[in-house]
Amino acid sequence: MAVIGVRLSRPVEFATRKSIRVLEHDLLVFRRGWFNYLLNGLTQPFMYLVAMGIGLGLYVNKNGGTPGGVPYLNYIAPALMVTQAMLAGAFEAAWPIMAKINWTKTYHAALNTPLGAQDLLAGDLMWIAFRAALLSMLFTTVIVALGAASSPLIVLAVPVAVLTALSFAAPIMAFTATQEGDNGFNVLFRFGITPIFLFSGTFYPVEKLPLFMQPVAWLTPTYHGVAVARSLSLGQVDPFGTAVHLTFLAAVTLAGFAAARVTFRRRLVL
């Protein structure tokens, strides 16, 4: 039995070891710019939360407030954390990946080593998860410092934000591998990512959207990520709803990953 176990686990184990090498590459690059990145990761949430949560919140709270009557700052803080992770995930899966495929072609250099296309994909997805986790932890720190979290469960919103980031990164990586340049990204961000950021229940409930737009909002991963993160931060968790939301996010991520495996192979192995 033990022998069989080793035989079965070895290829799997080595596959992950190879993708971790790709993650190491990204960390080596990160070593140069980490301080500015972290500083940015603290100042951005602070400015957003002060401007929108506290500033704009004054008017919202005076004029009927949010559903459930929670302060506007507490309402949007977890949502902004999720959308920030989502934007980072979408961005990192677009331009930097295009550079590695088509501009500096460093993927092609890596493919001359024992690494394969799926290792590059898995490694860079891990890297995006790492960045999203880092940003979300910093965001959480600011939220807590401003007293904008109603429940310690906010800590669990970090992995939710990471999953939301991956649900964008995986399909966009699949898309990137089909592109020749960055023209497609401009269209994707203008007509896809930006509207999703604005209209997925981030700043107000989707129930306030025109009726025909509501089902569209439900189909975006952001809507689901925001719903879970918000319920955790407000301490109003609905177990069944949470399970549905997380299943949706995981399904989109896995579908994107499966598609990216195909497009990466097609693009990099000719």
Partner: protein, 319 residues
Amino acid sequence: MTNPANTTEPQIHARGLTKRFGTFTAVDAVDFDVAPGEAFGFLGPNGAGKTSTMRMIGTVSPITAGTLTIFGLDPAHHGAKIRARLGVVPQADTLDEELSVLENLLIYGRYFDLAWAESRRRAKELLEFVQLTERSNDKVEPLSGGMKRRLVIARSLMNEPSLLLLDEPTTGLDPQARHLVWDRLYRLKQRGVTLCLTTHYMDEAEQLCDRLVVMDKARIVAVGSPRQLIDEYVTREVLELRFRRAEDETDDSAHMDGKLEGLADRIEQLPDRVLVYTADGEAVAATAYERGLRPASVLVRRSTLEDVFLRLTGRSLVE
């Protein structure tokens, strides 16, 4: 599986090797073997199929038909295992501009599963070998073309490969940089590393290759050592004659007027000169002078691979 004791087994073995992209045939049923320690060259014009062949050997491009083994292994099933023992210098540098010179090598060593300390040791040694030690901590972007090329060669050696694939290793380099690269490749060859390279520089092929194949339009059209190819396809010497041409003359035939009749193995008329292929250029030049031929300039030179190449692949420009 390979038997490590059997050192005469070819490192690369190809029979009927074919690569098609849709309906386009890039490599059309080529046969060749590369022996351990040999320097083997693919010579050919652009689009002849050299790079496609190299990519198949590098296991990054699946073969369409035929057989191909590298170290006795099938690339379709043992790609990662083959690549672990292979060094690759691609046509484009593909260096990481976000990393320093040293870091480019360090991470590449990690891709081959070297420990950090071992990767660092080899990286430093190789930077010494390619004379880039002073640039270790610099970014890659400001390096000259020759330096980048040397760095790519250093990178390809991080896994101490027994077979090195080089796709146009000196294209675009100035003469000094080319000679430095040749010198390093020659040293690697002396250490027993098998070299497999593509080039369209004849002097490079003559300098480096023990044996080479000439490829044209996806096929191998000639095979042999540089000397064998010259002996087989051209004469020992070439006599180049230039004439002062009058306005209304379109070629030099009026000047020659049959005066070279019976003197040469082959005569080639080019727009600006006449090439006379012969074993003894001086003798032909003297005889032609006696017969009254008065060229504006006379040059006798040894035949080179370039003459072979042009003979085999023609003079029309390949775009």
